[in-house]
């Protein structure tokens, strides 16, 4: 392999990772960016999605539950469903309470899930994990597998992006933003705000479940350690805050930028001798923490900031009126 091919294959690998994170970031944007729901348990939702899809699609095995050998699309649908059900349960407990209780409950459920999957070997193989997860279109393309995976992934992201945009620009999406701005006023306008917040929580969680399933099918191997809060939750938060919450293009951009920072710093720490390598890994996380704080203080709207959105009907009408005047 010459240097050029190496760079291309690394770029593809990089984009696949950033793309999977973009799915999480889109989900968080529905919850936090548009509705103001503070979910600190992204790791939990993606984990439940990843394991559900893995158990549905792997061949039968006595080392973990499931092993139904279903096609991957069924696994991904199951992942969205399972993560959505988990969100329903958490929402039922916390959404009628103070906003910050959702944060605490999601943080707790993510830690508890990781603990349970780690210790209950019969469910998902425990710390050994699940290793025989099928990869989509495996065997059809050997030489440029990652490139094909990236194309499929980008298509899926485009689909999810379109779905979120449609939802957000609909009357339903406007109610979510109204709730974020002033829940009491929205309730006074006759909206069942708890129901809308629940729907946003579940919708976002479904996306996170899909993201988790994509991760499982790309790596082909799952273990509870992949769902530590740093990698699976806080990086996603940094991405959304950096990119601009309340803006789907911001969510995608944030995933790309923060993943680039994360990967570049790893690139540098890999050059350091192993003795200070673990120390250097700490520097990367300190940097992400500082980035988060600095963005909050200096540019809370993120790189792109929130788009001003009005209903399509009003926008068209405004344009017509303007053309009329001109």
């Amino acid at each position: 392999m010459n240097a050029w091919e190496g760079i291309v294959s690394y770029a593809i690998f990089f984009l696949i990772n950033a793309g999977i994170y973009a799915v999480f970031t889109l989900g968080l944007n529905v919850q936090w960016g548009y509705t103001g729901l503070f979910n600190v348990g992204i790791a939990g939702f993606s984990m439940i999605g990843a394991y559900t899809s893995a158990l549905l699609t792997t061949p039968a095995s006595d080392r973990h539950l499931g092993g139904l050998g279903l096609p991957i699309p069924f696994g991904i649908a199951g992942a969205a469903l399972a993560a959505g059900l988990l969100a329903l349960l958490i929402g039922w407990i916390t959404l009628r309470l103070r906003d910050d209780y959702l944060a605490i409950a999601t943080l707790g459920i993510a830690e508890v899930l990781r603990l349970v999957i780690k210790n209950e070997g019969w469910f998902g193989g425990g710390v050994q994990g699940i290793s025989d997860i099928p990869r989509p279109l495996q065997g059809l393309f050997d030489a440029h597998y990652n490139a094909i995976f990236l194309i499929v992934l980008l298509g899926l992201i485009a689909l999810l992006y379109w779905a979120v945009e449609q939802a957000i620009r609909s009357p339903w999406g406007r109610v979510l933003r109204a709730i974020r701005e002033d829940e009491i006023a929205t309730a006074a306008a006759g909206k069942d705000t708890v129901r809308f917040r629940m729907e946003a929580l579940v919708f976002g969680a479904c996306l996170m479940g899909i993201g988790g399933a994509l991760y499982a099918h790309f790596i082909g191997y799952l273990s509870p350690d992949a769902f530590e809060p740093m990698n699976a939750t806080f990086l996603v938060w940094a991405m959304l805050i950096v990119g601009g919450s309340g803006n789907n293009r911001g969510a995608l951009l944030g995933a790309l930028v923060v993943w680039a920072i994360w990967s570049l710093t790893e690139f540098f720490t890999d050059f350091l001798p192993a003795a200070i390598g673990t120390q250097a890994a700490a520097v990367r996380i300190v940097l992400i923490g500082l980035l988060l704080i600095i963005m909050l203080i200096w540019r809370p709207q993120g790189l792109l900031g929130e788009e001003r959105q009005v209903s399509r009907w009003v926008a068209e009408r405004l344009q017509r009126d303007r053309a009329h005047e001109g």
Binding site: W237, Q279, V283, I285, G289, L290, L291, L292, I297
Partner: protein, 292 residues
């Protein structure tokens, strides 16, 4: 069982120290400080530095670390949280996640990821035959006495001094406290110092009871948050009670569950309290949900 109860009370007093500080800042600033556990770890490591690095006696090192952690907490408030206070509590919450990462991995950067202890060697436990034969190590007696003294001191501070009354007033109703002429910013600074100082004390005691590792504080954050909510946000006395309940239930659970599941007990209690009585044991049931 009696032995587990003793361990539970020891763990409970450590959790209570963490929970009092978190409850006060939660009540006053209206956000759960996700960096609180990591401030515990910071206090523990500062004490390690003063004790093992500068050869101070452990008690003096602990006192020094408590003061230092308090000062650092005021510094973090000035540099970060105060700038965000106007934009709302959720920005504070996200910022505290950032602070938590910086503190935890800053500790790892300075002291390394390996396990550290204050005192090398094995201590022989005392055996109390008149108490059903339970065994307690000398250091554990020290932990219980220290935690007890600190809790009494906090109680006196909160109930007998002007500063303590101002803190409770601010935690109870910030607007009312402000219009009654309480110097809010000064009281907030003292609350950070007191809360983080107590967290440092809890972290040091945790380090004495077990060992020091950079994620030690993050790992006890969930039980501490559970204790705060169990006791009612803003209530220091509730936090003490909540801490004790969580600590004792976690240790007693090991009689019939694997020890790895201790955090699960804290979470189960948290969920139960959220369903049954979200305002906490000591709190007044609030009317509906308020915006953070």
């Amino acid at each position: 069982m009696e032995q587990l109860l003793v361990y539970g009370i020891i763990l409970g007093s450590i959790i209570a120290l963490g929970a009092i500080g978190l409850s006060l800042t939660y009540g006053i600033l209206n956000f759960p400080n996700f960096a609180h556990g990591d401030m515990m770890a910071l206090g523990a490591y500062l004490a390690l530095f003063l004790h093992a690095g500068l050869h101070w006696p452990l008690t003096l090192a602990a006192a020094g670390a408590i003061v230092l952690t308090g000062v650092i907490a005021i510094g973090i408030d000035r540099a970060i949280y105060r700038r965000l206070r106007r934009t709302g509590p959720v920005s504070l919450l996200i910022a505290s996640v950032g602070v938590a990462l910086v503190v935890r991995y800053g500790i790892q950067l300075i002291w390394g990821p390996q396990t550290e202890v204050y005192i090398q060697g094995i201590q022989l436990p005392y055996r109390f035959d008149w108490l059903g034969g339970i065994r307690i190590k000398p250091s554990q007696i020290g932990i219980l006495i220290t935690a007890g003294l600190l809790v009494v001191a906090v109680h006196l501070l909160l109930t007998r001094t002007r500063l303590g009354k101002a803190m409770r007033a601010l935690a109870d109703n910030p607007e009312l406290a402000r219009v009654s002429g309480i110097p809010t910013e000064r009281v907030i600074a003292w609350t950070w110092a007191l809360g983080s100082g107590l967290a440092a004390a809890g972290g040091i005691l945790l380090g004495i009871e077990t060992f020091l590792r950079p994620p030690m504080g993050w790992n006890v954050l969930l039980p501490i948050v559970a204790a705060v909510i169990l006791g009612g946000i803003g209530s220091a006395h509730g936090a003490m009670l909540g801490g004790m309940i969580i600590g004792v239930s976690q240790e007693l659970s090991t009689a019939f569950l694997p020890t790895e599941y201790k955090p699960l007990i804290a979470f189960a209690l948290l969920v139960a309290i959220l369903i049954a009585r979200p305002s906490g044991l000591a709190g007044v049931p609030a009317a509906g949900r308020g915006r953070v």
